[in-house]
């Protein structure tokens, strides 16, 4: 029988993958994609918890829909930034994007 903990394990694995990608990838686009993975793992959590524990089953689903919408906006902004940086600096490597410092 598949229960809540299975969903949570899948979600944790997905979050770990995203985090790993966020910390290790050099390409800005790949970093953005990793963040998307982490967001989706959170969505799985929300839906799973709402299915198994919450009194009102729709609350978690509404939240995840909101997160999807916000994530779409975030991707739009993030990709636009990446594009602008690429046009200005000729690179999408996060190592080189370090001018926001002293």
């Amino acid at each position: 029988m598949i229960g809540l903990s299975h969903y949570l394990l899948v979600s944790a694995a997905l979050f770990g993958l995203g985090l790993f990608g966020l910390l290790t990838k050099r390409n800005l686009i790949a970093v953005l994609m990793s963040i998307e993975l982490m967001l989706n793992s959170v969505n799985i959590n929300l839906v799973a918890f709402s299915r198994y524990t919450a009194a009102d089953a729709s609350a978690g689903q509404v939240f995840s829909l909101f997160i999807i919408a916000v994530a779409a906006a975030e991707v739009a902004v993030g990709l636009a930034l990446a594009y602008a940086i690429y046009r200005g600096r000729g690179t999408v490597s996060v190592d080189e994007i370090d001018w926001l410092k002293w």
């Binding site: 903990s5 985090l19 966020l22 910390l23 290790t24 970093v31 996060v94 190592d95 994007i97 370090d98 001018w99 926001l100 410092k101 002293w102």
Partner: protein, 631 residues
């Protein structure tokens, strides 16, 4: 009718010049004719009101015991209630009359004297404010209200003494006057606060009842202390030793201001304060003794200095200090009547002396040294005649004004203490001597060929003429009309001349004249000889007994020393703390900023580690990772 109206509207007396001040300083600063006329009209109306008030006091039986009081609550809070209002009694009425009259004459005189001065309108505005403050002080019903106007008078003296603010000496003199009187104000304020704490009231009428009862019950010791504190205020304001130093320097102001300060406003405020609160002082023999001795010492001390001064206005300034000493001494020996009488006659002849000196200075283009003058009787006959009247009045020659008031003071002093009487007579002798010296050197003798004097205009001579008439009759008329039956404290004072005292003082004054004539009558040789012979004494007198130098030494050594010490502490102790604080912050910042690498993945890693640490910490605190141990 008019008297009744004036009495019930006595608050208008200070208000009119005050509004003149406001109008001039806001609207008329560039229209001299209107400004001066407005000031004169306002002052003239005040004078008429003051006359009416004085008439009402005489006809309606208003006495010192039963004054006319009109007051309302100014502010009140639990445990403290202060009124403001109008108090008119014979003492206040006398002062109102003198102040408005002298100010009016000075204003008229100033239209001529100040003509063409760039600060003409400002001058009339300030004089109006000055008179308003003084008049407000006179009709105050309690100490606090009086103190407010007292401070305003101080402010105006600062503004007017420093009138020529482009001159460094004038600025310094204004500052000196303000700060010296501030020292006295501090004592006065302490005294007022202690009165409020002791009696829960500052009202003159209530204090007059409560103080004698308090003294009868608790003795006079603590009250004497309070009275001395209050007395410090008048010491500074009325130029008593050792806070007289500002008065001679106050000559830096325009001459009409000197006349005003010395005759009607400012310096008599101190005498008036003591007179107003005489109910307190009269039951404290200790305080009265201090006042009497300080007064007689000041009279003698200032007369001694006046003997050798060379600047005409400076002689008059020391003469004022000396005469104020007489007034204080009169209060000290318990004779309020003679003090107020002398205040009035002195206002007449001293204002005249100053206006006369102004006329001379005007004619000689500010040549102030009397040894450079001489022979002015031919070129300035009217000024000479009027100055002569004033000299006779101040020296106390009968029947001029000063004779009656000075005689009353000497009689009162002789009743109380023979040494005080003798010292006061000596001061009177010196007064006659130095006034005669001034007159002889200025108006008699040979004209100095370097001077080209001319008689002053009518606007200056007419006010002087009025004052000259008053200097002649200002003593005998009040004397004959029973001044002492109205202006008094305690039982009525019946006018009468003690022929022994009066005769002695007249002879003394004539001796002073004769000596001055002997020394200065025939050129400068005898006086030069005398200067050499009296060496040290002359130097002391000429240098004003080095009081200024002592103050400067004190100031340099102690005040300056304290300032240097504070400066050192500021730089080396406080400064070190502040400096090290900013240096430390800066150094810490320049090291810490290296943590900010700009590498976003590094930030994410730090965030992750921090989250992990936090979760572990929370787990350790709550005992398990998952609440309930179920997953």
């Amino acid at each position: 009718m008019w008297a009744e109206f004036s009495l019930t509207h006595a608050w208008l007396i200070p208000l009119l010049p005050a509004s003149a001040f406001v109008l001039i300083s806001f609207f008329l600063l560039s229209s001299p004719w209107l400004a001066s006329r407005l000031a004169i009209v306002a002052m003239g109306s005040s004078f008429l009101l003051a006359l009416g008030a004085a008439a009402a006091v005489l006809t309606q039986g208003i006495t010192v015991e039963a004054p006319f009081v009109m007051k309302t609550v100014w502010f009140s809070m639990p445990g403290l209630s202060v009124d403001m209002g109008v108090l008119v009694d014979p003492i206040a009425a006398t002062l109102l009359f003198v102040v408005t009259l002298i100010t009016l004459l000075v204003l008229i005189y100033s239209t001529g004297y100040m003509a063409g001065d760039p600060g003409y309108c400002r001058f009339f505005a300030f004089i109006s404010l000055f008179a308003a403050s003084m008049l407000g002080l006179v009709i105050a019903t309690n100490f606090l209200q009086m103190f407010v106007f007292w401070e305003l008078v101080g402010l105006c003296s600062y503004l007017l003494i420093g009138f020529y603010f482009f001159k460094v000496s004038a600025r310094e003199a204004g500052k000196k006057a303000f700060m010296t009187t501030r020292i006295g104000d501090f004592g006065l304020l302490l005294g007022i606060l202690l009165l409020q704490i002791t009696f829960r009231t500052l009202d003159f009428a209530e204090l007059a009842v409560k103080v004698p009862a308090y003294v009868a019950e608790n003795g006079a010791a603590s009250l004497t202390f309070i009275a001395i504190l209050i007395f410090i205020g008048p010491v500074a304001k009325s130029g008593q030793f050792p806070l007289h130093v500002w008065l001679p320097d106050a000559m830096e102001g325009p001459t009409p201001v000197s006349a005003l300060i010395h005759a009607a406003t400012m310096v008599v405020a101190g005498v008036y304060l003591i007179a107003r609160s005489f109910a307190i002082f009269s039951v404290l023999p200790g305080a009265l003794t201090v006042i009497a001795w300080l007064g007689v010492f000041t009279a003698l001390f200032a007369a001694f200095i006046a003997l050798t001064q060379r600047e005409i206005k400076r002689i008059l300034a020391f003469s004022t200090i000396s005469q104020l000493g007489f007034m204080m001494l009169a209060l000290g020996v318990g004779s309020l009547t003679s003090s107020m009488f002398h205040l009035m006659t002195h206002a007449f002849f001293k204002a005249l002396l100053f206006l006369g000196a102004g006329s001379v200075l005007h004619a000689l283009h500010d040549q102030a040294d009397i040894f450079q003058m001489g022979g002015l009787r031919k070129s300035m006959p009217a000024t000479c005649l009027m100055m002569g009247t004033a000299v006779l009045a101040i020296a106390g020659i009968p029947p001029f004004a000063g004779f009656f008031s000075k005689d009353e003071i000497l009689v009162a002093a002789a009743h109380v203490s023979t040494p005080i009487y003798l010292l006061a007579s000596l001061a009177a002798f010196m007064t006659a001597f130095y006034m005669a010296r001034l007159f002889i050197l200025t108006f008699l003798g040979k004209p100095n060929p370097h001077n080209h004097p001319h008689e002053s205009g009518l606007s200056m001579l007419v006010p002087m003429g009025v004052l000259a008439v008053l200097s002649v009759v200002g003593g005998i008329i009040p004397f004959a009309m029973g001044f002492g039956e109205w202006v008094r404290f305690g039982p009525a004072h019946h006018a009468g001349i003690d022929w022994a005292v009066a005769g002695a003082s007249t002879v003394i004054s004539l001796l002073g004249f004769a000596l001055a004539w002997y020394i200065y009558g025939g050129g400068h040789t005898r006086s030069n000889d005398l200067t050499i012979k009296t060496g040290a004494l002359y130097t002391w007198s000429f240098n004003k007994c080095y009081v200024d130098e002592i103050y400067q030494w004190f100031n340099r050594t102690f005040v300056g020393g304290l300032a240097r010490l504070s400066f050192w502490i500021d730089i080396h102790a406080l400064g070190a703390v502040v400096d090290n604080a900013w240096r430390g912050t800066g150094a810490a910042g320049s090291e810490m900023r290296r943590l900010q690498t700009g590498q976003m993945q590094q930030y994410a890693a730090v965030m992750l580690s921090a989250t992990v640490v936090l979760v572990i910490l929370l787990a350790a605190l709550t005992g398990s990772l998952v609440k309930g141990g179920q997953i």
